[in-house]
């Protein structure tokens, strides 16, 4: 029996910021050399958060080359939008990023509203903000749960899903469905908040900070978690901006770029919240940014409940907004408007605009071109997952395979949004 001599494990430096490789920045070519093995991770790999394919070249257990491939859940959302009137596009939008569904709807609805210059009543703005923040909590909980599962911390996943269910209960209460709600409409939201929502929401808000404390107790100081997360996937601020990172991925590198603060939409200029930043730019800092952001979202939702104005939740501009149901029985004009809006849709003035909002994953932008017809001429979504997954390669090379899993998890990509 002969023993196999194992080469000594490579000594990996800590806190080495990622540098942009030459050539294609989103791909790292392996060095020419013998004894390399190319392994195909995905597209169906439990650790890739959906159908992400990573073509990894390994030297032993160390990643030396990486090329990411996406597109496995491409469903042609942008082409579909071009075939639908503006109204019919709303249910499509949440299905792109199925974790941050409400943010996608807001971006699309906001872009169209800007184009047709419709006034949204203040109460509708606040209701939208309330659900946008609940959705942010939902999205960060999914991130936390799934990335903990990848590290083997299965119980955290169950805790996170428990709170996520409470958020979805609130969505169900107001919108009738748990996800993909079609709640924001052009000119406002579909319905006012139901009876009992405030009490239920306050119960959740009283509970949630304690739960976040628990997650931090479980993970933030946990030596296993720290050893797997600290110093992994480090990216410095300059590289992060150059690679187009946004949201918690960028704030983890110390850049306080938050569209809620930089270009306030809805009523974000009327609420108090902190923009959480960390400065090392590693996976641990991105994890901390997301987790601490949940506290801020709870704060914003509280302020929404406290100071939400009363009034209508839908604009009364009947050229764009469906008339209330009861009017259809008594008013001929309402019937005509209803018929025209449902069958033909409304015409939007020609033009182009880009409407960015702060989705849980970063800058989610909706670029809209109209030719004056009832359908968008071209719609393009700036998906933060699509952009952030470009950095997988530069963050993963010269690390162990296990660290690559942490990198992909910490970027928090949702493939439905990346592929659209």
């Amino acid at each position: 029996m002969s023993t196999v001599e194992r080469p000594p494990a490579p000594v990996l430096p800590l806190y080495e910021p990622a540098k942009i490789p030459g050539g294609a920045p989103s791909k790292v070519d392996p060095p020419p050399g013998a004894d390399l093995i190319t392994v195909n991770f995905g597209p169906n790999h439990p650790s890739t958060h959906g159908v992400l394919r990573l073509i990894v070249t390994l030297d032993g257990e160390v990643v030396v080359g990486l090329d990411a491939d996406i597109g496995y859940v491409h469903t042609g959302f942008e082409k579909n939008f071009e075939q639908k009137t503006y109204w019919k596009g709303i249910p499509y939008s949440p299905r792109m990023d199925y974790v941050a569904f409400f943010a996608n709807e807001l971006a699309y609805v906001g872009a169209v509203e800007k184009l047709i210059e419709i006034d949204v009543p203040p109460r509708a703005q606040w209701i939208r903000m309330l659900f946008a923040e609940l959705n942010r909590i939902h999205s960060h909980l999914i991130y936390l749960g799934t990335s903990a599962v990848e590290m083997g911390a299965l119980s955290v996943f169950f805790y996170c899903l428990r709170e996520r269910d409470s958020v979805l209960d609130l969505f169900e209460m107001a919108t009738g469905v748990r996800m993909h709600d079609r709640y924001p409409q052009f000119g406002g939201v579909a319905e006012d908040l139901p009876k009992g929502f405030y009490a239920e929401c306050r119960r959740f808000l009283a509970e949630m900070p304690k739960r976040i404390d628990e997650y931090l107790d479980l993970l933030a100081g946990n030596p296993v978690w720290k050893s797997r997360y600290q110093g992994i996937g480090t990216i410095d601020a300059e590289t992060a901006i150059a690679m187009g990172l946004s949201g918690p991925n960028l704030r983890g590198s110390g850049v306080p770029y938050d569209i809620r603060r930089a270009e306030p939409y809805l009523a974000y200029d009327q609420v108090q919240f902190d923009v959480i930043t960390r400065d090392k730019g590693d996976a641990y800092d991105r994890f901390m940014c997301r987790t601490l952001e949940m506290y801020e979202s709870v704060k914003i939702v509280e302020q929404c409940l406290d100071s939400m104005p009363s009034g209508p939740v839908m604009s009364d501009d009947r050229k764009y907004v469906l008339p209330p149901r009861h009017e259809l029985h008594t008013s001929m004009e309402s019937l005509i408007h209803h018929f025209k809006l449902v069958t033909e849709g409304f015409r939007a003035p020609p033009g182009q605009l880009y409407h960015p909002i702060e989705s849980p994953r970063g800058e989610f932008g909706c670029y809209l071109v109209s030719d004056g017809g009832t359908k968008p001429w071209r719609i393009h979504f700036r998906a933060p997952s699509f952009v952030s997954l470009q950095s997988t390669a530069m963050m993963s090379v010269n690390r162990y395979v296990g660290d690559m899993i942490v990198v992909v998890g910490s970027l928090d990509g949702v493939m439905g949004e990346a592929d659209r």
Partner: protein, 190 residues
């Protein structure tokens, strides 16, 4: 900085680069000659602080405005207080060429984001230089537009299909790409 000032500053730095400019509904929009794009991009990044490329969006204008008739409204939408402005037919401005490639830029750091849009007009078969050297994030953005719209970015280090299968024929977001009824991949699969 107003759009006029910005256009003047860019023209001063890179002569004969900006062919038109407008305020736009959302942000200043500069129309740039394709040959000067990289110079303009470098100038905007280094001297105007546009360090963040949000998105690269290509638009196909084939048949733009053909099916639109009887648009009611004014140039900036509809004026509810003057009903006389309704019913006036309006034609949309004809596009300069078939394709437009638009770059949405922003400043990330201290101060306001100051978004700016660059647009380059292209005919079928014309190419636009890559801006990967200016903003590395353009890598996948340009590959996506190449894949779905068929815009060729000259000098891109890895211009391959990103979203569609590598052996796909055609570019699905073009307006002359057939919709429905045509045989697709796996049609003959049993």
């Amino acid at each position: 900085m107003t759009t006029d000032e910005l256009a003047a500053a860019v023209t001063k730095a890179v002569p004969e680069s900006v062919t038109a400019h407008e305020d736009g509904l959302d942000m200043p929009t500069l129309t740039v000659a394709a040959a000067k794009l990289v110079e303009v991009a470098t100038y905007l990044r280094d001297k105007q602080g546009k360090n963040f490329l949000s998105a690269v969006s290509a638009v196909d204008y084939l048949g733009y405005g053909d099916d639109v008739a009887g648009y009611f409204g004014t140039e900036r939408g509809r004026d509810v207080n003057s009903p006389g402005s309704w019913g006036s037919p309006m034609t949309v401005a004809a596009p300069a060429k078939r394709f437009a490639v638009r770059y949405h830029l922003a400043h990330v750091g201290d101060g306001p984001t100051d978004r700016v849009r660059l647009q380059v007009w292209l005919d079928d078969g014309e190419e636009v230089p890559t801006v990967v050297g200016v903003w590395p994030t353009a890598d996948w953005h340009e590959r996506e537009q190449y894949d779905l719209m068929g815009i060729v970015f000259t000098g891109h280090p890895n211009l391959k299909r990103l979203i569609m299968p590598t052996d796909w024929a055609g570019h699905p977001l073009r307006k002359d790409y057939p919709i429905g009824g045509e045989p697709v991949q796996f049609t003959d699969a049993v």
